[in-house]
Subunit: 350 residues, 2 copies
DNA sequence: CTGAAAGCGCTTACAG
DNA sequence: CTGAAAGCGCTTACAG
């Protein structure tokens, strides 16, 4: 068994670049060029190499490549996001890393003061590029520092991408607007909103979408129907208490994220309100809490895992371009979201 | 800047094995032997090499090593643990991986039927060893499969480690017992318990500690003071409703984990009970939820990040030993836990 | 107990 | 546009 297992260990493909070269009838160098998307290869040669790669099911040995060009260090500067978010993000990021040969390097940085130190530490630990998930992607000082240092970086899930930095995100405005249109289609007219942390750009944008959608439908927004929040469960609790304190209650609450929506559900239950019969409550993001609470939340699914994969691919490309001296242009990727309807929303009782 | 940064990138140490060899006055081979803990090196030579390593601040180039011996693939077979748990675990595991050159490979496996397939996939994807966090570490069939395949594995946070597999854990019994002694020292005599998922060994052990501690203190345990749970928030909600339904209420509830304790706090608040004035509620694990709810939970801190680091070190050692043909013995590491007192517990009103 | 040589699979100058 | 040669930093047989 000991020897038998050995064979299987390195995946299916144990073909090397030389095998590909032989099959394609070219040199290993040329195969390397094709693998790395080098432009100076004729189409006909490229075709032969591609065919050989496919037939041999060749995959680069990332370890050997790393030995030559250095490890591809991918820094992740995280800062107290919800653990579910980071978690999902990591699963997606690691998945791509193990294929591209990237080494993820984590660094936590809670307050603004430690930002500079955290970035420096990441670089000292071998990061060749930095991934910036929320909420740091909205920190002007963080972006400025990254820009000054001149290290490739990718912002993730920022509501308002800047032209100087690559970003991967969803269309928060369209997502929140779709949720509102859905609620309105259910017959809701008196819809309350729980805002997210005002420092986060998606919070601002989701709020604007709420306001615009109300106006679009010709629905008035009473100031007392909007409660501030901070994206936390606790703030959702507080906001919902405020929204549901008076006699006249909204028929639906749209919270700017799931954690706050979960808090709102808890408050509703505390007031013996049935969800969704007495009140509809919706969230945003589709994090695990959305399916943990009861009833499960209607929400907008944000494809965090895919966003992480896309971000890794992007940063790898930027790092490679930088090493080869190519002008790696800034890229903005917009991934699709989905409206997920579950049990927490219902048509208004007429 | 472009060139200046290059220098800093690869951390401080850019010394190679040859630099060390030169300084120590030996061959690179000997340095390699020392680095890998090979026994056939004289103490005096080893000393010279060690000194050179230290003075040059040498660190092996894991990429170069991987090019020679193959990547160190570390599989992580996870199965729907709380996202906070996985998250913390990943942070610790990745930290060690980036230093030891390990490549973490994730694979999710929810039901027992897919276990065999998940393990096979992990191996096909290059895993040379497998980390088994809860609850899979308590699955007999999983352990049996791993044993049959003969791949190095480490169980994490199992309550009852088996002699054939390495494990990293805390002393669940002592932790739960300490919590009970603490509650009793506060004057509580009528202490209820919310059990964890009976399939998880730590749940069984924490329950036993509760029973033993009650007996040790000469306190009677009424059957209605013990409610079943599944380690989830929802099950904590149900269990607490059951425990607090009657007139005669316990003065303290000890839940077998934080999620259930959080649920119990929500129920207490729903019944207008003040925590901890009217009732003390404690958890176990010290996951993020413990400091998310209000009041923050008194709990037993389980050092998940350190346990992950220890598990990575252990599996790396096992994989290395296996490759060199050494008999890598099974190791069981016990890490220290801590009783963390916060606002959810208080002395009984007399 | 210690070392000289070869090689891991890939990529980087250097030619043509 | 394409290739022969050298080398990334380390470790594996093979000698002594």
């Amino acid at each position: 068994m000991t020897t038998a297992t050995k064979k299987t260990e390195r995946s299916q493909s144990s073909a090397t670049i030389y095998d590909v070269a032989r099959v394609a009838g070219v040199s290993a160098m040329t195969v390397s060029r094709v693998m790395n998307g080098n432009a100076h290869v004729s189409d006909i040669t490229r075709g032969k190499v591609m065919a050989a790669i496919e037939s041999l099911n060749y995959q680069v040995n990332t370890a050997a490549r790393a030995a030559r060009v250095g490890t591809l260090g991918i820094g992740l500067l995280y800062s107290n996001p919800s653990s579910a978010y980071l978690n999902t993000f990591l699963v997606g990021a690691m998945d791509r890393c193990s294929q591209t040969g990237g080494q993820l390097i984590l660094e936590r940085c809670d307050d603004l003061r430690s930002q500079r130190a955290a970035i420096a530490k990441l670089i000292a630990n071998g990061a060749d590029g930095i991934l910036v998930p929320p909420p740091l992607c909205d920190s002007k000082s963080a972006l400025k520092q990254l820009d000054q240092i001149g290290i490739p970086s990718v912002a993730i899930a920022t509501g308002r991408p800047v032209p100087t930095m690559s970003a991967v995100r969803i269309d928060d405005y369209a997502g929140a607007r779709d949720m509102m249109r859905y609620l309105i289609s259910l017959g809701h007219k008196d819809i309350a909103f729980i805002q997210g942390d005002p420092k986060h750009t998606p919070a601002q944008i989701r709020y604007k979408a709420y306001m615009d959608a109300m106006e679009e439908a010709g629905l008035p927004v009473k100031p007392e129907r909007v409660a501030p929040g901070l994206f936390t469960y606790r703030s959702g609790l507080d906001a919902a208490r405020q929204l549901l304190a008076k006699k006249s209650k909204p028929t639906a609450i749209f919270a700017a994220n799931d954690d706050m929506a979960a808090g709102a559900v808890a408050v509703a239950h505390g007031l013996h309100l049935d969800v969704p019969k007495d009140i509809t409550i919706c969230g945003f993001d589709d994090t695990p809490v959305a399916t943990t609470v009861w009833p499960e939340l209607t929400t907008i699914h944000q494809p965090i895992e895919d966003m992480a994969r896309a971000a890794v691919d992007l940063i790898v490309e930027l790092i490679r371009n930088r090493r080869t001296g190519e002008v790696g242009g800034v890229q903005h990727k917009l991934l699709p979201y989905t409206l997920v309807t579950r049990e927490s929303s219902g048509a208004i009782a007429s």
